[in-house]
Structure formats: C-alpha cells, structure tokens
C-alpha cells in the first residue's frame, strides 16, 4: 500500500474516511464537525464526501451527543462522536459510564454500544483549565470502556480504525499538542513538523493496530519508561539528551493494558519511571505503579517513580511550570538510576 506523509490530524481524518467508505453503518457526529470540518479540522471534507446524514453537526450538548450515539448503536450503526475538547466530556459522563459502558453487560449482549468517542486532550497549547485536561483515568476506572491514546500519525490511524471496528465503546483521546508535530518538551524551541518523523509515513488505505498492544519505541537496559501520548516524545528527548539507555514503552491502549510488555521490560531493567501529563493523585500512573510492584517487586532495584502534572487545575500563564517537562523527567531519572 502506498504511503503519504501525514500529520496526526490528517491521519485521523484518513481513518474516518476509510471507515466511512468501507462501512455504511459508520456515522460521524459532533459540534462543528460537519460543513466546517471540526475546530481542529479532523473531519474536514468528510461531510462533502459522505453527505449530511453520515457526517453532521450537533447541538452543543455532550449528554445528547453520547446519548443519541448509544441509541444509534442500538439501531445497528457504528457512531464516531467527537467531543470537541476532553474538558467538555463531563456532561456526557452518565451516558458513557452508566449506559454505553454497561449496555452489553446489563442486556447480556442483547444490545451493544460500538461507539468510538474521539476527543482532543492534554495541554501545552495555552488552553487554560478548560482546554487542557487529561481525564483518562476517569475512564480507565469504568468497567466496560476501552481507552486508547495514540502518539504518532501512523498509530493514530491504525488505532482509530481498530477502535471504530471494535464492538465495545472506546474512548479515543488525541493529544492535541502533537497534532501538528512531535513535541520535545522544550516549548521555546521551534515546532518540528511530523514530516521529519518516520511515523508520518501513513498508508493511504485500511490497516489496523490491535488495541491492547503497547509499542517499545526505544529498546534499552537501564530503566523502563512507561508513558503515552505527548509524553512519549518528551520522554524520548530527555532520554537521548541524557544518554540514558532507557526502554521507552508507548502504552497506546491504557485499557486493556498490555501487561506482558510492561512486565517483561521491568523484569529486564529492574527500574521503572511512569510519565503522564494528567494530575498525580489517582492518576493512571498509580495503577501502573501498582501493577509493576505486583508483578515485578523482586526484580525492582529502586522504587517506582511517577512524573506527572501537579494536582492543580491546568494553569494558563504558568502552563510550563505545570507541565511535566524535561527538568522533572531528568530529575526523576537521576533519582531512579542513583544506586
């Protein structure tokens, strides 16, 4: 299959394009996704190509967006609702937590909710406290939901196609800081476009990346770094700068988590750093730390460390003091590798 250089938005758009073409039950809905093509342009051109009954704008009402998607799923469609920012998802939470996530269980498979809820998440774009949040651990805590977070254009397309084809509800969080290029963590340096990154070579047609499989993006012996989304790139920058032989694992799917890849790596390195942008307390890092010590306690040579956002709302002007950037990561790595 021929490839094309794509940024993350183009790859996500291409995934929906492929699925709208392949499967007449796929519908795309959300605020501003239709004629305009989405505030981040993720659905650009799709309404023109597939028509208004398959790609359409919705009222500003996340409860309604998710609720009608559940009903469409019950009818037999495969809806792909967009929540414009992850920060806006909370009005739709009951429909996700009590309805979509439990419909298969409570009806013993009479009805399913095969929706894929796409939503840009994370900070680093001066979005303030209502356009920067990372609420993934609120969804990994819900039984019946899958949570997927890509970190490259190639993965974004393959994972999104797999998510749309999945018969369970999937929360698909897109790290908006890296829509246009990978982020080193140095906000004062020019943005590097995706075109310079190998993972911007995206096949034009259909391909899947299986959900529940992590990717080892850098093999190493000294320490295992568990991360996802934007922080994959920040972690890679710091590891290379510091000359640390780290094994960097991009989790890609948080639930179900790829425990085998994690355990094999930590058993090998004996050290583990967990990095996420979300707030610290009860964040997904807490689950990862618990899993690692349950499985690998006797191989560990240092306490598991977490690098995270602070337990405050995402500040506007002090964004870069909040962001878990190179200094915080380098400090934690030095601490883990001390002994």
């Amino acid at each position: 299959m021929s490839t094309e250089t794509m940024n993350m938005i183009e790859a996500i758009n291409s995934a929906m394009d492929v699925m709208l073409e392949r499967d007449p039950s796929v519908v795309v809905l959300g605020e501003d996704v239709g004629y305009f093509g989405g505030v981040f342009r993720a659905t650009a051109g799709l309404q023109r190509k597939y028509g208004k009954t398959r790609v359409f704008d919705t009222p500003i009402n996340e409860c309604g967006i998710v609720g009608v998607a559940v009903g469409m799923g019950a009818y037999g469609l495969r809806p792909v609702p967009e929540i414009q920012f992850a920060d806006y998802i909370y009005p739709g939470l009951d429909q996700l937590v009590s309805e979509a996530a439990r419909l298969r269980y409570r009806s013993a498979g009479d009805f399913i909710a095969p929706l894929t809820v796409r939503s840009p998440f994370g900070g680093g774009i001066f979005g303030g406290q209502t356009h920067s949040q990372s609420p993934e651990s609120m969804f990994t805590h819900v039984c019946g939901l899958k949570t997927v977070i890509p970190s490259t254009p190639y993965d974004a397309k393959g994972l999104l196609i797999a998510a749309i084809e999945d018969n369970d509800p999937v929360i698909f969080f897109e790290p908006k800081r890296i829509y246009n290029g990978p982020f080193s963590g140095y906000y004062d340096r020019p943005v590097e476009p995706w075109a310079k990154h190998a993972a911007s070579a995206v096949p034009e047609g259909y391909y899947r990346i299986e959900l529940g499989k992590a990717a080892v993006v850098r093999a190493g012996e000294a320490v295992t770094v568990l991360t996802y989304g934007t922080m994959v790139h920040v972690a890679m920058t710091v590891v290379e700068e510091q000359g640390i032989d780290a094994e960097v694992i991009d989790l890609r799917t948080l639930l179900p988590i790829d425990i085998d890849t994690i355990a094999a790596s930590v058993e090998k390195t004996g050290r583990c750093l967990i990095i996420h942008e979300a707030t610290r307390t009860s964040g997904f890092g807490a689950e990862l730390a618990a899993l690692v010590q349950e499985r690998c306690f006797y191989q560990l040579e240092a306490p598991v460390e977490r690098v995270t956002g602070f337990d405050t709302p995402y500040p506007h002007s002090l964004e870069w003091a909040y962001f878990p950037g190179p200094v915080r990561i380098a400090t934690a790595l030095a601490k883990i590798l001390k002994d």
Binding site: C63, G67, V68, G71, Q95, L103, F111, G144, D168, I259
Partner: protein, 431 residues
C-alpha cells in the same frame, strides 16, 4: 465571617425561597375537585400534519374519549373494534394480575424488588397497541405493559425478576429491568431519563437509513427534570426525529410530588412548546384517549412530521416500589379520590355500556388471568428464585463486560472461583 443578614438593604422586601409542598399529607382528606376534567368534545383532534405552533393549546388541555358514563365520543375517538377493546381490557387486567402476583412474591422473599404499575396500565398497554410491532420502545421501569401487550412470555419476565437459571440477563439486573430486542423493547437502565436521548438516536438512525420504523420512549414526570430529557427534546427538535416522548405524570416521584419537577407552574406537555415540538396532554386513565394520542403521534412521526411529547395525566395508585411506603408522605385515599378513575374499570364500564361485556365475564376473566399468572409463576420457580442457589454459573459475572474477556478479568475470574473452592471445599465445581 460576616452575617449575610447584615448586608440586607433595610428598605427592601426580604426575599423568600419557595419550597414546594403537596396539598395533602398523611391524615389529610385529599380533595381534587379543582382538577378540571373537560368534556370529550372540548378538544378537537387536529390533522396529523398540523404545525406545532398551531396546536399549542393541546399542551394545556386534556384529551379524553370516555366520558363519566363510559361512553366513547368526541373527535379523538379512535373507533376501535370491540375485539380490539376487549383485547386491551384483557391485557391491562393481565398486567394487574401479574403485578399483584409479583408484588406478593417479593413479600414472600422470592426476590429483592418489584414495581407495580397499578392505575397506570393504560399508559403502557394502550400506547403499545397503537404502535407497530417493529417500532422500538425505550421504556423506563414501569412499562411492563408494553412487553405483555407484545405477548412477551410471562415466564421470561418472572425468570428475570427471580434472577434465576432461566434469566437471559444472567441475573445481572435488578428485577423488572427487562431487555427484549425481539419485542422492540430496549434494555431498562435504572438511571432516569437516560433512555430519552437514546430513543432519539435510534429514531435518527432509522430516518438516516430511510427505514419506516419509529421510536417511542417513556419517563415519569419527576425525571423530566433530568438533563437527558432536555437533551433529547433538543436533538429531536433539531433533527425532526420520528420519536414519541411519553411522560407518565403519575403525580409522585417516590415521595416528591410533581411540584418538584416544576408541575406547580405549568403542564408537562407544555415542555414541548418551548422546543417547537407538538405537545398533547391526555387523560392517562382513559385507555381509548391514550391509544388515540399515541396513534396520532405515531402517524405524525411516520409521515416525517417529527416528534411529539405526550403527557399522560394519571395517578400512581401504589408505592413507588416494594421498598417504598407511601402512607408516610401522602394522604391515604388519594387514589380513591382521583377524579379520573381507574383505567381498567373505565374500559370495563365502557364495554358493558356497549353491551359487549358484563360483570360475570369480567370476574371470570380476572380469575382466569390470575390462574394464568400463577401457572407461569410455577414454571418460573422450577428454575429457581433469588438467593436459593439456582443462579447463573459463577463465571458469567465476568462475561459481557467486553466482547472478549481481557486478561485482568480472566485473572479476577480465577480468583473468584478459587474463593468459591475455599468456601465450599476442593471438590466444588462451578456450575
């Protein structure tokens, strides 16, 4: 801390917080003589394609077909054949017999919970009869009449209520939270009004696909206060969805009277007016009026004239559920004083007035239906009652969380089975 009182301007009237209070409490004598019960010809049935802004009055009236003498009249009279009306009566009586039996089963400790629909049978039986079998219903928790009207086997309902070996929901759901896709009956949630936007989504999908089936959904007047209700009305209005919103206004949401959902100010049908949706207020204890309203709304939806909201003005004759004691919060003889009567008796009286029915046949039918329910109960109990060991196999607890069981659930399932072996001995085997 400063005293908020000290900030009050001395020359202005103090503000007052209004907390609604029902008119009658335990010990009071309920008097509903102020409820206006219009004549059957007070409200003229508009054309099914009428624009919502031309029929706003219907949201404030009360559509009726049966008068106080049991005669059918007025422009809403659906003109049903005697056979159809007899079938409607029989189905409502079957629902009542079923409710009585299952309520008793709960009191006998055979299950954990039950909810009766006594006095509200018309709002599910007559509505279901006015829909096509292929139309999709998104019910709340008190619409067992839909299933019974669609000939769903009583034994299957009871298996669900008992969470026994025959329960196709694997004993996962609270009793009465049925699911029956083959009977056009969506899985009952238990969270309130969540089914409202889902019904709109189903209707939107049907319209987007050029299907001919429509959707209908039910909630109580209390849960019209939920955000989901208003989300649903907004989406239905925006997309002209072929959906019917049924609001069963039975006056009580557990112990909260309809005033806590805004009922002191306006009707619930009037919620439709602000959305530009057709709204009807109907005598919910008049089975023929209920049928007529649903038929009108269904024909509208089917011909792309969009959504309708129907308020059924009725009364919850029994407690909210087996866990409720209404004598603690409302006057004892409210149902007896209710000016719109009892839907079963009203249809019975109508059929007797028409010469198609009599007291003897009615009594015989009641006894026969009671026996039918009793026989079904006997069948269901062969498969077990709640808490007596004949539940679903243990490992079903972990099935259907996802389509395929991920590793962490397989691990937890093993742990649970090991716990059972620890409890019951090494020879224990999961059934």
């Amino acid at each position: 801390m400063s005293d908020p009182q000290a900030r009050r301007a001395p020359n202005l009237t103090p503000l007052e917080l209004h907390v609604p209070e029902p008119r009658f409490r335990p010990g009071d004598t309920a008097d509903f003589s102020d409820i206006v019960v219009p004549d059957v010809d007070a409200i003229v049935r508009p054309a099914e394609g009428a624009k919502p802004d031309t029929i706003r009055d219907l949201a404030y009236g009360l559509v009726r077909v049966l008068d106080s003498d049991g005669r059918a009249g007025g422009s809403w009279n659906p003109g049903l054949s005697t056979d159809r009306k007899l079938a409607m009566l029989r189905t409502m009586m079957l629902v009542r017999a079923f409710d009585d039996r299952m309520f008793r089963a709960q009191r006998q400790g055979k299950t954990s919970f039950y909810m009766k629909s006594t006095g509200e049978e018309a709002t599910s039986v007559a509505t279901a009869m006015a829909l096509d079998r292929g139309d999709m219903c998104f019910p709340s928790y008190r619409q067992q009449g839909i299933l019974i009207a669609r000939d769903y086997p009583l034994v299957r309902m009871m298996n669900q209520i008992y969470s026994n070996r025959g329960d196709h929901l694997m004993g996962r759901q609270l009793p009465i939270m049925y699911s029956a896709p083959d009977h056009g009956f969506f899985s009952v949630s238990g969270n309130l009004a969540t089914q409202y936007p889902q019904a709109v989504g189903w209707a939107m999908a049907s319209a987007a696909k050029g299907d001919t089936r429509i959707a209908a959904t039910w909630c109580g007047e209390g849960s019209t206060a939920e955000g989901d209700f208003h989300s649903a009305l907004t989406f239905a209005a925006v997309y002209n969805a072929p959906v019917i919103f049924n609001v069963v206004n039975n006056q009580w949401a557990i112990s909260s009277f309809s005033g806590f959902a805004g009922g002191e100010r306006t009707t619930f049908a009037a919620r439709a007016v602000g959305y530009g949706v057709a709204g009807l207020r109907v005598d919910g204890n008049d089975p023929l009026a209920v049928y007529a309203a649903m038929e009108w709304a269904a024909n509208r939806a089917r011909t792309n004239h969009g959504p309708t909201l129907i308020e059924y003005f009725t009364y919850r004759a029994e407690g909210h559920s087996t866990s409720d004691d209404p004598s603690a919060y409302r006057a004892a003889q409210e149902f007896a004083a209710w000016p719109l009567g009892d839907p079963v008796l009203r249809l019975k009286d109508h059929l007797i007035a028409e010469g198609a029915w009599d007291e003897d046949r009615h009594a015989a039918q009641a006894a026969a239906l009671e026996a039918e329910v009793k026989a079904a109960q006997k069948e269901a109990e062969k498969l077990g009652i709640l808490g007596h060991g004949m539940h679903q196999p243990f490992e079903t607890m972990f099935q259907d969380v996802f389509e395929d069981m991920p590793w962490h659930l397989r691990e937890q399932c093993e742990q649970m089975l090991a716990e059972q072996r620890a409890k019951f001995g090494p020879d224990w085997e999961p059934r």
